[in-house]
Symmetry: C2
Subunit: 393 residues, 2 copies
């Protein structure tokens, strides 16, 4: 009676719902403060003061038509500010024209894929990955191709990538800092990737786009500099949102930055703006376009996340967990002590620990910890993590 594919997917994804319901059940039995919910990536620091102040100022100013339609690509002055900032950060010369404002990164990814994909063309993703990439690719007529990462670094396996590229490969989705591993891809790995792509483009006489999904780009630690996909890949489409950098995930505000080095870039931008419209997004929310325009050079206090990472990472390592020390995002992706990560997730539940099994990211045998919880909650959760570890070692 309904879409068979969607109903089928609903059944498959029901373990996420089951977990959420499990959490709700535990909270009711034990109280919210006794349940350690590391499952959800819902940024908890408040937005920066400048962001809040801009919002207040704009709402009190109450300019006429401030909630009206603007061009589908977004307000020109906002696009201009984003372009200037991203040019400064990446050293790639962008103008207003290269920026299309979107309803967050989810919208941006769908719009970018719709603009480039012909039926059956392939899009490569590196496991582990944010599982909705596969839906986004499928929504827009493409075929997802999963390429493994190097388990020692959780960076893309470049040989595996090369072997996976076919004449139908239209794009590669790169996500760094990565969800779920928190890993920041090194400049050298991205440059190797660029070489392989160039070689294959020549071999097959094709164009392969790199869609660089960077919602965690401001959430990096240890004074590292995030290598810029826009700088490294000629055919790059950068996707960003302010969900994490400004803690505005509910407001659905982000943008696409299109590399000026793409051949026929104006046509691609036209296609992207058109897709923003016909996919039903129409435009990024008006008020929050103006809000983020004053915050493009700022972010929430990243130190809040860093303290949590340090406490959690150091504690888990001491307890015997094995985990790559990530330099970005707000996730840890440790190895489960048993291969069956669903079983491991269930064992953790006994200690009121809510963890997401790696299978949810096409990487079984691991689990994701999202540290969008207070330092206090992390401290309180440590005995639970320890007791869980002791079951296995």
């Amino acid at each position: 009676m309904f879409s068979e594919k969607i109903v089928d997917n609903l059944t498959k994804s029901s373990w996420i719902r089951a977990m959420f319901e499990e959490g709700e059940k535990l909270r009711k039995i034990y109280g919210a403060d006794k349940v350690f919910d590391f499952s959800i990536g819902n940024p908890d620091p408040e937005p920066p003061e400048v962001t809040k102040d801009t919002l207040k100022r704009l709402v009190l100013e109450d300019k006429p038509k401030m909630h009206g339609y603007m061009p589908n690509a977004g307000y020109p002055d906002v696009r201009e500010k984003v372009a200037i900032q991203i040019s400064k950060e990446t050293n790639v010369p962008l103008t207003m024209k290269n920026i299309v404002m979107t309803c967050g990164a989810g919208a941006a990814l769908n719009v970018a894929l719709k603009a480039i994909l012909n039926p059956g063309e392939e899009v490569i993703v590196f496991a582990p990955f944010f599982v909705e990439y596969l839906s986004y690719i499928d929504n827009n007529g493409g075929k997802g191709v999963i390429v493994k990462s190097n388990k020692d670094t959780f960076e893309p396996d470049i040989n595996a990538l090369e072997a996976s590229i076919t004449p139908k490969t239209k794009a590669v989705i790169v996500n760094t800092p990565n969800n779920p591993t928190g890993v920041v891809y090194s400049e050298s790995i991205l440059k190797n990737m660029a070489e392989v792509l160039k070689k294959k483009e020549k071999e097959f006489n094709t164009t392969i786009f790199v869609i660089s999904d960077e919602p965690y780009r401001k959430v990096v630690y240890d004074n590292i500099k995030l290598p810029s996909a826009l700088k490294i890949f000629e055919n790059s489409i950068m996707v960003d949102s302010f969900s994490k950098s400004l803690s505005l995930p509910g407001e659905r505000i982000g943008y696409i930055a299109v590399s000026p080095y793409i051949k026929d870039v104006d046509l691609l931008i036209d296609a992207i703006v058109y897709c923003n419209r016909v996919l039903g997004f129409v435009n990024a929310p008006a008020l929050f376009q103006k809000v983020i325009a004053e915050s493009v050079d700022t972010s929430v206090d990243i130190n809040i996340y860093k303290e949590r990472r340090d406490l959690l990472y150091n504690s888990l390592i001491k307890m015997g967990y094995s985990c790559i020390k990530p330099q970005g995002a707000f996730y840890l992706f440790p190895k489960a002590f048993i291969e069956d990560d669903i079983e491991f997730k269930n064992r953790a539940l006994k200690y009121n620990l809510l963890l997401v099994p790696g299978s949810g990211f096409y990487c079984p045998g691991y689990f994701r910890i999202s540290y969008c919880v207070s330092l206090k909650t992390i401290e309180n959760s440590l005995p639970a993590f320890e007791a869980l570890a002791k079951e296995f070692i």
Copy 2:
């Protein structure tokens, strides 16, 4: 190099862009006040005071996590308020569960279609219609089937509808008050439609959904009561946005109301919420969900639009134009004096009149006037309309 279909569509839709550019050119030459732009449906009355006041209050209150994620279906308290209001207006018993908040009606339509369509299933639209319906249907794997309206009333031709229904018919999109005609479908025509659908559902042993796109539902004149699709059609999915009722089109806020009478309605609602997520909308913008929750029972001053309709309609009729007097939305859809409506649009341009040809709505020989302009602009435009008419009569 990009999506061939999208690039092809871009070329086809370029006359809209050409028109926009034409307008910009005219404004530069003659000044904005000398150009009469009736092309864009961008509501110009300001939002109601209660809406603005709620926005101010919420922003100044600045509650923690107010810009964070909420369930994909929207805030429960907001869904509750919408459910209560729509139940009251339609006499259909809705609960929070039946309401899914969306990024405007464009999102809602895509989400609803995605949730029900299997590949190649057919969706009927009545010409003239908002042309993006065809994109929305195509985005989600369906096939658009165009059924004509009765030219005397611009209501659906029920015989033509009956003849167009096949075993593959999955949905009918109904849009009343209508864009581009402004016509409000009568209760009797909708009841006839419901009978035909029931008969065909029995004949083919299928379910045919009525997707009722109602963004203009509050913009009705002459004290008429808008017949409710939710009440008349058992298998109905109502789609609404606050773009027109509260003049918030740039903020992308709307909802889906699912009829409680649909078989397996809970599964459909799950599918809709899932599609809201995987299509990349994720959730309706957080702040504006809370804003509209306090304004579900109000609207902008409809009298503003009614005055414009009356002035324009009465003047055009006196000049010799032929036009159905519409009882809703903010459009007139008069007959062009010549069959070639593109040529007619070009002739109008000579008088600095920007009109949209009916071909843009799959109804050649007519043109659309959007009266989202001040009464003063309408007054100033009348000599131009008159001079244009005199060319033909």
